[in-house]
Assembly symmetry: C2
Homo-oligomer: 253 residues x 2
DNA sequence: CCGCTGCATCCGACGTTGTCGGACGATTAA
DNA sequence: TTAATCGTCCGACAACGTCGGATGCAGCGG
């Protein structure tokens, strides 16, 4: 089964691991990184020095931080993706029409990536940032993606990543998720009722071409503004409309 | 002089070099990468395989591309930077007020990084992307940064990166640049008259705290909309106002 | 003022592992 | 089909990443 042979160049892999560790800790000192690794100080030190020498980490006093240098790589990767180019304007329009956060997600390696996020005029600060990765079952966008992939693929993803809760309302039961996904397929859109962040609700719709899901759109807002008809009618129809426009535009690329 | 000792872990450095090569070529096949390196196929292959195994490159048929995975690292680095947090809203406001592209730049290692870019309602597509690096002398924002750093630092930067032209109007003469910088200091803002992209003009202002420049703001637009009073009065005053607001907000962090 | 502690950096020896030429199979083009 | 190009794998050698320990530095408490 799981071949899982490690990559040919291990030092590169550990360097990248260290970057992710620093990233995960939101900045870390050498001993803090050492603690997460089973490697000796001197080894970790060599990696950190290499990464700062090459400009991918920056040393802020005693703590290392991930450099915005990575934004150059990731930003261009995004800018070159046709999906982003097509969707960008529509997401901005959606944010402008609703006055709330509008988001774009893609799936990669079984997890969701916030590819684009636009704040609306009334929107509050959320903890999301462009490039952020989340488990698919924790967001409305992720659930629409799960609802559109094959059962086989869905099992793969759920087996690998599980159903870790992030709030009290996160779906953690597989059967419950399946009925939820049935509902989503029927309705055509998904909702997230404080399943990832307390007090925040989302409405999301999948974006598909040739019966394959390529991403999802959503609107996020504090639940005080996401209720009643707006939550059940207005926002869903705007989200669905945006998803549909993007789908149509994707045909003509 | 230039100690220039290479980083302790060379394989990591070459892996990152390969990522940048793929990035620079906007996607490349194995032989294309080999051509840029003096390393044998098999070595490059090992690096590419490691990078795809770890998910930082994606293989699209035969060509390797930089993964949006990097956006996760760079996006969070940006999101955590106080400068970005303070400036973000103001840049968006500036784009909304002018209807044109509004940009935010910081300097790192002597080059300019587009930290944030917001399209305005009327704005055209530009070749810039968030995270993009440019030589400082090629942009209005970069010139304001050059105008605010010490002469010593300016010499360092210019010695290292030179004055490479990117359009016919790029400033390539050091004396000419110095007089331009004098003008900028006097006026308080800089203009870019098709010095980086044909047909595009920019107006930029520096952002300083404690007499140290920390970045710059600008508005970019096609020259057909950037002329007369708008180019000489309206836009500059809006850009200066935005820079000033950001400066004030930076005091209270 | 002086030892003490924790840290970053450096060093040198060992042995892992990255390197590289070459070979094999797959793929493409003619 | 042939020929050329490409992707992948393999194995031997030597380079270099690893790791324990030593050095030097900064901050703290006695």
């Amino acid at each position: 089964m799981h071949a899982e042979q490690d990559p040919p160049i291990k030092s590169t892999a550990t360097s990248l691991d260290i970057v992710e560790t620093v990233h995960g800790l939101g900045g870390a000192t050498l001993p803090e990184v050492v603690e997460q690794f089973e490697k000796p100080r001197s080894t970790v030190h060599d990696h950190l020095k290499t990464l700062t020498d090459t400009g991918y980490l920056v040393k802020d006093g005693r703590t290392f931080r991930v450099s915005v240098r990575f934004l150059n790589l990731g930003g261009r990767a995004r800018a070159e993706s046709q999906f982003f180019q097509v969707a960008e304007g529509e997401i901005r329009q959606l944010a402008s029409d609703t006055g709330e956060h509008a988001n774009l997600m893609i799936e990669e390696n079984g997890r969701g990536i916030f590819l684009y996020k636009v704040k609306g005029s009334r929107s509050v600060n959320l903890d999301t940032y462009e490039g952020m990765e989340v488990d698919l079952h924790t967001t409305a966008m992720g659930k629409t993606i799960l609802s559109e992939v094959s059962e086989r693929r869905r099992d793969e993803i759920l087996d690998e990543h599980g159903l870790e809760p992030v709030t009290a309302k996160t779906i953690t039961d597989r059967d419950e998720l399946e009925t939820e996904l049935d509902d989503i397929r029927e309705r055509g859109y998904a909702i997230d009722n404080e399943e990832r962040v307390e007090g925040v609700r989302c409405v999301a719709a999948p974006i598909t071409t040739d019966n394959t899901v390529v991403g999802a759109v959503s609107v996020s807002a504090p639940k005080s503004r996401m209720n009643g008809e707006r939550f059940e009618e207005t926002i869903p129809s705007e989200v669905l409309s945006t998803a549909n426009i993007i789908e149509v535009n994707l045909q003509h690329v």
